[in-house]
């Protein structure tokens, strides 16, 4: 699926630099493929989203990318729904070893609290191994019902991958959202 990866990534990056989230979906909603996100119930969020961490602290090492990517309140995770790959052998933007990143994702818009910019975030799932089971995080800002799939995080977005077995979720910066 290399070709699909490349086409999807480049298209998304190009569009993301030029458009707002809403117009992005309006134009490409039928194709736009979305994210990952398995649902965690708020029950899960309560246990991971603001309380004490159950994993060693992490940092991006970049003061412009603040927060701990192993915690649910990390700024990029504003619409994520799943196990955080940062706790599963990957990072906030890479998959754990031996898993396959889905080329199809859905897109959220999250505000970086340090530089004040709104970034377009692609919530790619990592696929091919069973649930990581660590650092469950469910935030539903902007989540829409399944009948608008490109904006829904109940769907297993392990599509276009070798299997639809879900492992964890990433939050990849595509670019700055321009209104």
């Amino acid at each position: 699926m290399d070709w699909l990866d490349k086409v999807t990534q480049q298209t998304a990056r190009n569009i993301a630099h030029r458009t707002s989230r809403r117009s992005f979906f309006a134009k490409f909603g039928g194709l736009l493929l979305g994210t990952a996100a398995l649902p965690l119930l708020p029950v899960a969020r309560a246990s991971t989203g603001g309380g004490e961490s159950r994993v060693p602290a992490q940092s991006t090492g970049n003061i412009q990318d603040p927060g701990d990517p192993s915690l649910c309140d990390y700024w990029r995770y504003c619409a994520i729904d799943g196990y955080l790959c940062s706790c599963c052998g990957g990072t906030q933007n890479t998959c754990p070893p031996g898993t396959e990143m889905s080329p199809l994702t859905w897109i959220g818009t999250c505000r970086n609290p340090v530089d004040g910019r709104n970034y377009i975030i692609s919530y790619n799932d990592c696929c091919g191994k069973s649930d990581c089971g660590r650092c469950l995080c469910n935030r539903n800002e902007g989540d829409k019902p399944i009948y608008r799939p490109q904006a829904n995080n109940d769907i297993d977005w392990c599509l276009g991958t070798e299997t639809n077995i879900y492992n964890c979720s990433t939050a990849v910066i595509l670019g700055v959202a321009t209104e």
Partner: protein, 402 residues
């Protein structure tokens, strides 16, 4: 003599600590020591127990009482291994279960006395050749009757009652596909074969209405109506005008049916009815201005339940915010939909993830709670009745067996 026997230990402790009553302690301990060191009442039971029969599995009396329900364990933490538990909400007894695969669905046909589990497997667990199927279970013994092979495109999503459905006639089962291209597989339940696949670009999920009619909801806010003929082919198809404000106040897809009409509740608490032809009917608010100002909103994983007499139950939470629509509900509000009035507010012991209502003479409100148990209340009065614990790693849904 086993000196770990708790009764004996207690006695020894009592003897040492209660000196002012030591004589009584000695007497009690002597009796216990005698009881533990000699055969108990063998003379009363001169015959030993007979040998048990071997290799017996239970079966169930059918049709089931209306108090039976199925709880769906999504298996979050090990998604390829999910399960459905059959429970009696009256007695609290666990009656049996059905194993299931990745992203399973559940349907039941009382007239056929069959249950249908949609599931995806890989030949080597998490890898290998994919199989999508609907597995048919006999309600009498929970044994597999058949496996219906599906096109390898059934939608993988968190538990959702709209992912599959059986038409009102009982003839066809509908399976929503997402690749992410959207379509519907039509299964003939007599032949147990897929007889059609209907493309539905931009439209998702299935809501059966009358005969072999159903509608889907679309990304532009409209509904797609489809009517099947007796062979499962499309007899008629039409699309409504858009009536859902998806950007500002979307209708949750997790809805309930009364008669021929589907009842959808929006994220902000507005009720929208949709006709058997997929056309919008009435719309009214479930909230007073005061309740709205306090942030009351519908909430939960599946937040509606209905009764054929027109009653509708809706899970609600206060202090709502953008994204609170999947938070557990602290109350369930009961409405009379014919009069468009609220009858009562039921405060829950433990917040709800999903609800349903049994069809008994005195219906029970079935609540999958946020702690993973099934709580049972009187659906009219809200009086708590009992709980059924330990129903899997992530029970997200409850189905009455209608």
């Amino acid at each position: 003599m086993d000196n770990q026997e708790p009764g004996l230990n207690d006695c020894m402790k009592n003897k040492n600590e209660r000196l002012n009553d030591w004589a009584g302690g000695v007497k009690l301990c002597t009796l216990l020591l005698l009881a533990l060191s000699t055969p108990v009442n063998a003379e009363t039971f001169p015959d030993p127990l007979p040998a048990d029969p071997l290799l017996i599995s239970e079966s169930l009396d059918t049709p089931y009482p209306a108090s039976y329900a199925v709880v769906h364990d999504f298996g979050f933490g090990s998604l390829p291994d999910s399960a459905f538990s059959l429970v009696d909400t009256h007695t609290g007894r666990f009656k049996g279960m059905m194993s299931a695969g990745n992203f399973a669905t559940f349907d039941v046909s009382v007239s056929r006395q069959e249950m249908y589990v949609g599931e995806t497997y890989y030949s080597r667990g998490t890898r290998g050749d994919r199989s999508d199927l609907v597995t048919v279970y006999d309600m009498n013994n929970l044994e597999r009757l058949a496996e219906i092979e599906l096109p390898l495109k059934r939608a993988a999503m968190v538990v959702n009652k709209g992912a599959t459905g059986i038409t009102d006639s009982g003839k066809f089962m509908l399976v929503f596909n997402l690749t992410p291209a959207t379509s519907v597989s039509v299964i003939d339940l007599d032949s147990r074969k897929v007889v059609n696949e209907i493309e539905s670009p931009g439209c998702s999920l299935v809501y059966p209405t009358v005969k072999d009619d159903f509608f889907m909801l679309c990304g532009d806010g409209a509904a797609l109506f489809i009517s099947l003929d007796s062979s499962g082919q499309v007899r008629k198809q039409s699309k409504s005008q858009p009536f859902i404000d998806i950007d500002n106040d979307p209708l949750s897809e997790k809805s309930s049916k009364i008669g021929d009409t589907w009842f959808f509740v929006s994220f902000h608490g507005n009720l929208q009815t949709v006709s058997a032809k997929g056309e919008p009917l009435d719309s009214w608010s479930l909230l007073s201005n005061n309740e709205r100002s306090k942030g009351w909103r519908p909430a939960g994983w599946h937040w509606t339940a209905s009764h054929p007499d027109g009653r509708l139950w809706v899970g609600m939470t206060p202090d709502g915010y953008e994204g609170s629509h999947k938070d557990p509900a602290s109350e369930v509000w009961l409405f009379e939909t014919k009069k468009k009035t609220r009858l009562s507010r039921i405060k829950l012991n433990v917040n709800a993830i999903a609800i349903d209502v049994s069809l008994e003479d005195e219906p029970r409100l079935l609540v999958v709670n946020a702690a993973g148990a099934l709580d049972v209340y009187n659906a009219q009065t809200g009086k708590y009745q009992n709980s059924i614990m330990d129903l899997g790693a992530s029970p997200y849904q409850v189905h009455r067996l209608q």
